[in-house]
């Protein structure tokens, strides 16, 4: 599974937990749109740290980085 597929599968699972079983596009807004909340962002952070070795201590947190599939892709494969 490539990174994007893996990431998309994870986000889809998150959305299902939030009762939103819609298919997401690369640029669909996930958090500012209200689809997901701050707890979901936390779960994203944990997932990205474990699966992609994301280090926020180094980079600094900006919620925008987590607001769409393409933003997250940029975050993990700069």
């Amino acid at each position: 599974m490539d990174n994007k597929t893996k990431l998309k599968a994870f986000l889809q699972e998150l959305l299902t937990d939030y009762g939103k079983e819609t298919d997401i596009g690369d640029d669909d807004l996930l958090v500012t749109s209200g689809l997901l909340d701050s707890l979901a962002v936390l779960r994203m952070v944990v997932f990205l740290e474990e699966e992609f070795g994301l280090d926020l201590a180094e980079r600094g947190f900006d919620q925008n980085d987590f607001d769409s599939l393409s933003n997250i892709m940029r975050l993990v494969s700069p």
Partner: protein
């Protein structure tokens, strides 16, 4: 007869509460109080001063007062205004934290009404239940609230609804019996009408919290109680006009009362962070150069987890106010590194005693509650008495745990349309009215109170008050089995981050049950998972053993 002031018994009131304070309080009761008074006063004194900032829009006190006055004039002129029997007209505020929400509630009070925040996370059925219970005269929505006005909700709406750009949200002529007006284009008011006189015993607001029976209960808070609270809390916190204050709470959470009215009381400015940007709170506070941070401790726990609490990242912050849930010592330690110039106050209080009524300055060494590693909840505000009660409602001795009871100027009037529940939770003990918090606590020899948890099944999920029995009531119905139990999980530093429900012997599908719950409960009350089990663990009384369920989760390493 036990004397409350006896030093060996655990009841304590603030030492400052002298006869002078009491006289002052009595005078206040005669004067009446309008929560909009401070904005009015500042608008005359320094109209150009910044009052509120939200998503790039900044309003001065003069502008905020003007907007509130327009809302007030529209309300007062509506045919349904003042129709209530024996109570002030009530206005629902269906909104997130926003300038529109603030103008709505200020306008309500300005017109002499009671405001009732209705959380946006409420599903349709709950919105309708709340509106039916309240006999609203009007409803004010912000653009997010307006999106919730489905056909069914509209049918339950009062005769007047104010919202921004109604044309965008509702098709023209969709509800001819309701007068829908554009909140951003209300007729101008030329004279500087002051806020209406409101008696101290009349209600400033009603805030709904979770109820064990499955129906939300409305806590009725008087103008006099808010008056006392705001005067005392601004003094304790030492707020002043130069402060720039964070607002990160929904209006349906009464911490927002502190944020808004303490800020405006001193002529400071309120900086509102929308819900969908909350994880950017540190960045926002830094860029807006905030001096005061108010939040639940969980938010700081989460910000720490995303590594946002870098060393010295918030140098301008001079005061931090935590409340709404237990404050873990390690949250304090992480915060002190991020905001090295900030003093920290830990506030405690239930909605039923007007936001907060005990305070504990966080000093070094940390005033921790033994074995729990959370900060003590401290001593009562002036005008408030706190006591630890034994099971038979006697005052317990020092260091002995019991139910924390509160009395004094900030007690709510009770629960809306629920006399029996009000009498049970606000009993007269030794000739005085108390509120029984349901919190287990003790008072140490120095007079500081320590919180030990709940005596019932109420939990706080990220600061939101949730009765587990309320969820269970709906679960039983939806799953068609009696054997259900919801537990708070996961727990981080003793605070709940979510909920998990267990059901035994249900013929229903998980997804069906979840869908049903989402229709009836606010989102933060809906369990993230439903686990089907073969047998429900029971304790020796034959009741569901929630502790055993939590232990299975711990063993599973979830």
């Amino acid at each position: 007869m036990i004397l409350i002031r006896s030093p060996t018994l655990c009841a304590s009131s603030a030492p400052e509460q002298s006869e002078v304070t009491l006289k002052c309080m009595m005078q206040k009761n005669n004067q009446g109080f309008n929560i909009a008074n401070a904005v009015y006063r500042q608008s005359l004194r320094e109209p150009a001063r910044l009052a509120i900032a939200f998503e790039g829009l900044e309003l001065s006190y003069g502008e905020l007062a003007d907007r509130a006055r327009r809302v007030a004039a529209t309300l007062v002129q509506s045919p349904g205004w003042g129709a209530g029997e024996g109570f002030l007209p009530r206005v629902g505020i269906l909104a997130s934290r926003s300038i529109d929400a603030c103008t709505g509630l200020l306008g309500t009070s300005w017109a002499g009404g009671t405001y009732i925040p209705i959380g946006l996370k409420s599903p349709e059925d709950r919105l309708i239940t709340i509106m039916d219970q309240c006999q609203l005269s009007a409803l004010v929505c912000d653009s997010q609230g307006a999106k919730l006005l489905t056909e069914r909700v509209l049918a339950a709406c009062p005769p007047l609804v104010l919202m921004p750009e109604p044309g965008q949200h509702l098709p023209a002529g969709s509800s001819p019996e309701i007068d829908i007006q554009d909140l951003h284009n209300l007729p101008a008011v030329t004279d500087a009408t002051p806020p209406a006189h409101i008696k101290s015993t009349d209600l400033a607001y009603i805030i709904f919290t979770s109820g064990t029976t499955g129906t939300p209960k409305g806590v009725m808070v008087s103008a006099g109680a808010v008056h006392h609270y705001i005067e005392v809390v601004t003094e304790i916190l030492g707020l002043d006009a130069s402060d720039r204050v964070l607002e990160v709470c929904e209006l349906s959470f009464d911490f927002s009362v502190l944020d808004m009215f303490a800020t405006w009381q001193v002529g400071a400015s309120l900086h509102v962070l929308p819900a969908n940007r909350v994880m950017n709170a540190v960045k926002f506070a830094r860029e807006s150069r905030l001096t005061v941070w108010n939040s639940v401790p969980s938010l700081v726990g989460m910000l720490n987890q995303i590594k946002a609490l870098k060393l010295g990242v918030l140098p301008d912050l001079r005061l931090t106010v935590f409340g709404g849930e237990p404050l873990p010592a390690n949250t304090v330690e992480a915060w002190q590194l991020a905001a090295p110039n900030s003093v920290i106050q830990n506030l405690y209080g239930p909605t039923e005693v007007t936001v907060s009524c005990l305070s504990q300055p966080v000093t070094i060494p940390l005033p921790v509650t033994p074995k729990r590693n959370v900060i003590a909840i401290g001593s009562p505000f002036p005008g408030i008495e706190a006591a630890i009660l034994t099971a038979d409602h006697q005052f317990a001795p020092t260091d002995e745990p019991g139910e924390l009871a509160l009395s004094g100027a900030q007690l709510a009037e009770g629960y809306l349309n629920a006399r029996e529940l009000t009498e049970a939770r606000f009993p007269i003990i030794h000739g005085k009215r108390w509120y029984l918090t349901g919190d287990l606590a003790f008072c140490d020899a120095s007079g500081a109170f320590h919180h030990l948890g709940r005596i019932d099944n109420q939990v706080k999920v990220l600061g939101n008050r949730v009765e587990l029995e309320e969820i269970d009531t709906h679960l039983r119905e939806l799953s068609q089995t009696e054997l259900v139990a919801t537990v708070a999980w996961p727990l981080v530093d003793g605070s709940a981050r979510g909920l998990i429900a267990f059901i035994a012997g249900s013929p229903m599908e998980t997804s069906q049950i979840l869908t049903g719950l989402k229709r009836q409960l606010p989102a933060y009350s809906v369990p993230s998972r439903i686990v089907h089990i073969e047998q429900m663990p029971l304790n020796h009384n034959g009741k569901v053993d929630r502790g055993a369920l939590v232990r299975t989760l711990e063993c599973d390493g979830h």
